[in-house]
Amino acid sequence: MVLSAALFIVGVVGVMIRRNIIIIFMSIELILNAVNINLVAYSSQQQNVVGQVFAVFVIAVAAAEAAVGLGIILAFYRNKETVNIDEMNLMRW
């Protein structure tokens, strides 16, 4: 549990302090991994496989998120030539 929480915190700090959007996406992957570790730890503690099934779903959603997010990054980079999130203000009013 403590390991999962610590990994989660590292991911959140990564999202907050870095300005490179690719590293922010990697931090999100770290957060999802922390959630998976928590699910699997409880599943082995309670002798119940349902946690692992949910971890499989989390991995599927993480793969989908990575594909779409990196597609957005590529499309954005082609227009603006940057990966800095502070310059990403297309949708700001």
Partner: protein, 172 residues
């Protein structure tokens, strides 16, 4: 004893590589540290008795997602490091305040649930399964109790695949 030594070693490696992923300047190095981190997480899954999930972790994360990241890092050349430009209008204080509020709420929930512990779970679903072995158990649950979420997940993956192709295509 040996198990706890292995657990703490793997945990230390996972946390160390996670910190390296977040703090390294070079993005390519960051991705490589991410691969090592995922491999150690897979080792932790094996230690926790989830061999099927460890295999999935290595195949999907270390094999698929990280290659995707490497492709994108190589495609967008980072001649101008993004850390130099700082937006003066960035509202860091507001963000930290909001996240502190969320942290306080989560702490309150944890404290509350410590005071009133939840009732123990009903009879374990795994105990009634007619098969043994980790992969068989996961597969059995996935194709019986969780069939509809499984199908929805496959639909989600299909939509994500089409969406990524549409986004990354130069002109339709």
């Amino acid at each position: 004893m040996a198990e706890s030594i292995a657990f703490y070693t793997i945990a230390a490696f996972i946390l160390g590589f996670a910190v390296l992923v977040v703090t390294t300047r070079d993005t390519v190095h960051s991705v490589l540290f991410l691969v090592v981190d995922f491999l150690f997480v897979a080792a932790l899954y094996v230690l926790l008795g989830a061999q099927f999930l460890a295999a999935i972790q290595i195949l999907v994360y270390a094999g698929g997602i990280v290659v995707l990241y490497l492709f994108v890092v190589m495609l967008v050349n980072l001649k101008r490091p993004p850390e130099e430009y700082r937006d003066p209008r960035r509202r860091s204080v507001l963000g930290f305040g909001l996240s502190a509020a969320v942290l306080a709420e989560l702490g309150l929930i944890a404290f509350w649930s410590r005071l009133n512990p939840a009732p123990p779970l009903a009879a374990s679903a795994a105990a009634a399964l007619p098969v043994t072995g980790n992969t068989e158990q996961v597969g059995w649950l996935l194709y019986t109790s969780y069939l509809i979420p499984f199908e929805i997940a496959s639909m989600l993956l299909l939509v994500a695949m089409i969406g990524a192709i549409v986004l990354a295509k130069r002109e339709l």
